[in-house]
Symmetry: C2
Subunit: 192 residues, 2 copies
């Protein structure tokens, strides 16, 4: 039995990204973002949605750059703190012990301990409403060599990314069992 | 040891959405999309990125509406087929046996078998490059009652969503173990 539950902002899975940025004095900040994802292949782009109330919003407007860091499950406590605290009030790198490293490609900090990150130049700013979507062109991806898989790209089983449950169950999860190969296990439905 | 691997369009986790739309003759189509997500709280919005080469792109331009259906893992084969086949060449509902049901809120079909779906009115079209991002205002969410959790919203453990590995490992996954409560387990780092 289905019912209308109103216009909820929920999908599954929600990712857990840590967005890195510098303020005007080059103080590094990081923010937890679960509203975003890849949005274009050519140019390669990723989008993240932020409220103007955040420190990261103003950092990105000023520096026109950001990083999207992908944390592994072992950093779930640090990432949760990043989502609780405000960069305007504290130094989240100092508090968590995570290490900011300046990207060589864009004016933004990377989180050294995380397995990989996208290095982005601000391409477009889309004012939607309470959230502004920053579309970043991905100039490069910096990754731990040991987490690379097919085609030299990050392998989800080695990355061990975090998943966020959102409103219906505000838990963090890891990935589960592998169910099959994409672009393959559905071929049984091909009819010709 | 970290290395630059170039501008890859990869994050983790990638979701697996099935976007529903009608063509001019009201033939229902569905498309697998892993590039998208919630992008604004007020108005409540979700974004999906599509190439102009797809049938769904033209359907959405014409009907100014779409649905974002969240499949559960039990439909991984059907969903994979939806990602392989073209709606211009075949009827993916007929081929898979999935059932199209017209949304009562927008001019777009829902996938009856999936646990919930977002019903969206096209709000904005962002031409980024090879992909166009459709930002849809979420007018409603229709959900199976049995998958609802806290606050009457879909619970990730009951939904059992699909996760896509992307380039480094083109597998489908389910969710794994619960690691802790968001906005809670990171409190140990609060210093005041």
């Amino acid at each position: 039995m289905k019912k209308e539950i109103g216009p909820a902002t929920v999908v599954h899975p929600h990712p857990v990204f840590v967005v890195g940025s510098f303020n005007k004095e080059k103080k590094p900040n990081m923010m937890a973002v679960s509203w975003g994802g890849i949005c274009c292949s050519e140019p390669p782009c990723v989008a993240v949605s932020l409220r103007e109330a955040t420190q990261s919003y103003h950092n990105i407007i000023h520096s026109k750059a950001f990083t999207v860091n992908i944390p592994s499950t072992e950093y779930v406590r640090e990432v949760d703190y990043v989502g609780i605290a405000s960069g305007a009030e504290t130094d989240k790198f100092r508090d968590t012990g995570l290490t900011p490293v300046e990207s060589e490609l864009v004016h933004a900090p990377l989180v050294e301990e995380f397995p990989y990150a996208l290095e982005c130049k601000l391409l477009e700013t889309v004012e939607i409403g309470l959230h502004t979507q920053f579309i970043g062109e991905i100039l490069g991806v910096i990754a731990e060599e040991k987490i690379l898989g097919d085609h030299g790209k990050p392998d989800i089983e080695k990355v061990k990314p975090l998943i966020y449950g959102s409103f219906g169950n505000r838990g963090y999860y890891g990935i589960g069992v592998r169910l099959g190969d994409a672009f393959s296990i559905g071929k049984e439905y091909i009819t010709e």
